[in-house]
Amino acid sequence: MFDPADQARQIAAVFARMSRSMDAYIRNHFEELSPNQLDFLNDVTQRLDDAHDRFIAMAIRGTIDALKDDLSELASITGRAEQALKHLNKVAEVAKIAGALAELCADITTADFGAIPSALVNLAKILPETG
């Protein structure tokens, strides 16, 4: 299958190989080269490096472009995980209300009238949080 990112990487590797060959040539003939020849060869090497960089940038672009579907799937799964957590938090809130109501019922049933105001306060504290 045609992969633009891989193809760009392969072309970049060709430019890198040429640049390495130029480097090796400069290193091996350094003493024999005049400053102007050295400048020329360095300039060619730098142009080869520039071409390499351009194709590397294309490879990165191609790789990122190919990820679009996976990223949107991953974002949607992240959303589902957050929803599941919200659901659990809601259950915790409901349990809190049930606990406060049960406390109130217990106070009424056992005729512990002194405790009713504090049970009501507890219930009132929880309700705005869940609203």
């Binding site: 990487r9 970049a12 590797a13 890198a16 640049s19 390495r20 480097d23 400069i26 290193r27 350094f30 005049s34 400053p35 050295l38 400048d39 360095n42 300039d43 090497t45 730098q46 490096d49 520039d50 390499h52 960089d53 590397i56 940038a57 490879a59 990165i60 790789t63 990122i64 190919a66 990820l67 996976d70 990223l71 799937e73 991953l74 974002a75 799964i77 992240t78 589902r80 995980a81 957050e82 599941a84 957590l85 659901h87 659990l88 938090n89 259950v91 915790a92 349990a95 809190k96 049930a98 606990g99 109501l101 049960a102 406390e103 109130l104 019922c105 217990a106 009424i108 049933t109 056992t110």
Partner: protein
Amino acid sequence: MCSGEAMKPLPFLVLLSLFGALSCTPPASIATFAESANAAIAQGPPVFADIYESCARRQAVEGRVAPNYRHADRGRTQNPAKPSDSSVCAAFVPEVKELEEVSSVLSAYFQAIQNLAAFDETSVSGEAEKTGEGISAAAIFSTNQADAVSKLSELITRALTDHYRRNKLKELLIAADPHVATVSQALDAIVSKDYDSLLEEEERAVNRRYQETGVTNDAAIILLLNRAYREDNDALQRRRTAAKAYSTALRQARDGHHKLAAGVAQMNNKEISLALKPYIDQLRALALSLQTQP
């Protein structure tokens, strides 16, 4: 209330099934693994930023060394300093930004899994126990009966929330696994191939320039050049080490996630913890080494 011998096995079976459900509590190691993976993946942006920086440094390397040493200009008839081609490096700017976004999607996923796996079920079961106590008191049960009812409320609630949480985690881990693999592989390819290739090119450019400027018999200049060369070379090696650590972290996160997704339905908690331990240890060490990179 239950009475008679025939009814005795029922509460026993109920309790047995509740304890069975409680053994399904997602192990803490899932949260720890997701946290370690997130911590390591979060170290990506400085590595991505250096993709552009490496290109810019290579462009600047001649301009940085040559003007400082007169020997760099020996016998030249033209200005050797090639004006930097900023458009080459500019091509990396949007890519770097998008890479940060890609890694943030992966981080957000691991963060969400961590939060879900680390959900404190006692916040629900504790309240359920209180509810049980209240109901018991309201029904005027004996102390023992009230205690049993409140414990049972706690167990039932905990079993239900744990079951829900475990099922959700299983479903999400399996659904995300191929996408986690693709995204982490892509980031790994960019860092281990593309960025490494840029660093190698930068290293050659640095060597080329130091070789050219180092042609002198002046001991002081040679000393200064050696020192500067060593510093540049050390910095390059540190960047290479950071890139390798980040690549390894991505592989560990991917492999650990795959192992978890493949085994979460069959493995018990102990098996999951044992399976994830090597990944957690590696990811923690890698995150630490990436944080300490200058």
